[in-house]
């Protein structure tokens, strides 16, 4: 094979013209790319340069120094916030025995009196006594009819006992409390 087998030289005017046109297009594309890239680069640089981050940070420092002048107030705010959060938690979760007692004894007939009342480990046991049987049934009905599962559950009447020495009827109850 010799050099005549590879013929990369244009031989006619048409091909030359096409080549010149291609060259012109290549130059235009190169020119466009150069200016586009330069333009975008300058624009992005200017935008980055003009972002007001420094101003915002300066304003932050200014406001922080203003706040530090009110540090005592801020301390009070956080302390009040901390106490109220804790208190609302404790009040919501502590044993609500005043409500329980009110629930059990607000309607205690005057002939009945509380003899024993024990609450420990979520268990309630109490006895009431009466010298007459008349109000006993209504109180049993009342206690067994209490529906407040958030405070008291599974109320059971453990029985009625007559103490001959004192001539009293003893009424025992058991329940779970929360």
């Amino acid at each position: 094979m010799n050099n005549n087998d590879i013929n990369l030289v244009f031989t006619d005017a048409d091909r030359l013209e096409r080549m010149l046109r291609r060259l012109k297009i290549a130059k235009m594309v190169a020119f466009f790319c150069l200016f586009a890239v330069a333009g975008v680069s300058v624009i992005v640089f200017l935008i980055n340069f003009t972002l007001p981050i420094k101003t915002v940070q300066h304003d932050q420092q200014q406001t922080l120094s203003n706040i530090s002048a009110l540090s005592q107030k801020m301390g009070k705010y956080y302390l009040i916030n901390d106490r109220t959060t804790a208190l609302s938690d404790i009040i919501a979760k502590r044993n609500d025995y005043p409500t329980l007692i009110n629930l059990l004894f607000a309607k205690l007939p005057k002939e009945l009196s509380v003899n024993t009342f024990n609450i420990a480990n979520g268990e309630l046991e109490f006895t009431v006594s009466s010298t007459t049987l008349v109000p006993v049934q209504s109180y049993i009905d009342y206690v067994l009819g209490i529906k407040n599962p958030r405070i008291i559950r599974n109320i059971k009447n453990e029985g009625i006992e007559l103490t001959t020495a004192e001539g009293e009827y003893l009424l025992s109850f058991k329940a779970e409390v929360f």
């Binding site: 992005v44 915002v56 940070q57 009040i80 404790i90 009196s113």
Partner: protein, 263 residues
């Protein structure tokens, strides 16, 4: 078309002369190609990082602006905060939930409730616990705050004992009765007095400060209305008889165990 019949030149001869010929014919293309190539390089290595930096700066600006807004809001809230009210609120809240075990205030509250309801106070025992550490020994109630436990014997009818508990629940410091043992005219109560330490580490001027919620305002209002045992009853030089730094128990002296207030 049978590809097997196509014959390829066995050897391509590309020598210096060929290269020179090619260069002469295509040299006008070299500058545009180099320019395009450089443009692409500039796009990838200079413009692209700039655009990335712009996007990250934009995010940073957004974050910083939000932070500034929070700071400005915090400042305007603090500037408009009523000093007298916040002092009063803080004082009530600290008396209700002290920063540390407050034995004197607790006993004041017991004494106040007893005097208010006519209950007599008998022996009492205080489980001070470790004075150095927070304790929540029982975990019975599910309340995750440390407390000091007082076991106290009371004398009185059931109604007065129940009233005593009612008053105690609305007297500072905050108390919780964990067990009641009432038999005829005597009762033994176990009372938990809660406290909570406070750390300044929680304070940050960059956290948003918002007005207290209605629930918190209600709590402040509720506990401000509670009686403050210590402000109403003077305790003359009360000093515990036995107190040590770990799990100590204070037992009332015989003089304090007789009917009536030990104070």
């Amino acid at each position: 078309m049978d590809l097997s019949n196509i014959k390829f030149p066995e050897k391509v001869n590309f020598d210096l002369n060929t290269a020179i010929i090619l260069y002469r014919h295509y040299k006008d293309y070299i500058i545009p190609v180099v320019v395009i190539f450089l443009s692409v390089l500039i796009l990838f290595f200079i413009v692209n990082p700039q655009i990335k930096q712009y996007l990250s700066s934009q995010n940073q600006l957004k974050t910083q602006t939000q932070k500034l807004q929070v700071l400005k809001n915090n400042y305007s809230f603090l500037a408009s905060m009523d000093d007298a009210k916040s002092d009063a609120d803080m004082s009530s809240l600290l008396s209700v939930l002290p920063l540390e075990k407050d034995f004197v205030s607790s006993m004041n509250a017991v004494s106040y409730a007893a005097s208010k309801t006519g209950v007599s106070i008998g022996n009492f025992q205080v489980n001070v616990g470790d004075l150095e550490k927070d304790t929540n020994p029982a975990g019975l109630t599910g309340i995750l705050y440390p407390y000091m436990q007082i076991q106290i014997d009371l004398g009185g009818k059931a109604e007065t004992i129940f009233q005593f508990i009612n008053v105690l629940y609305e007297t500072a410091p905050i108390a919780e009765v964990s067990s009641i043992k009432f038999d005829q005219a005597t009762a033994t109560l176990v009372i938990n007095y809660y406290y909570k330490q406070y750390s300044l580490e929680n304070i940050s001027s960059q956290s948003p400060i918002v007005p207290f919620s209605a629930q918190k305002e209600n709590i402040i209002k509720e506990v401000s209305a509670w009686s403050n045992g210590s402000s109403q009853i003077e305790i003359p030089n009360f000093s515990p008889t036995n107190e040590s730094s770990s799990s100590s128990v204070i037992i009332a002296s015989p003089a304090a165990s007789i009917n009536g207030s030990p104070f």
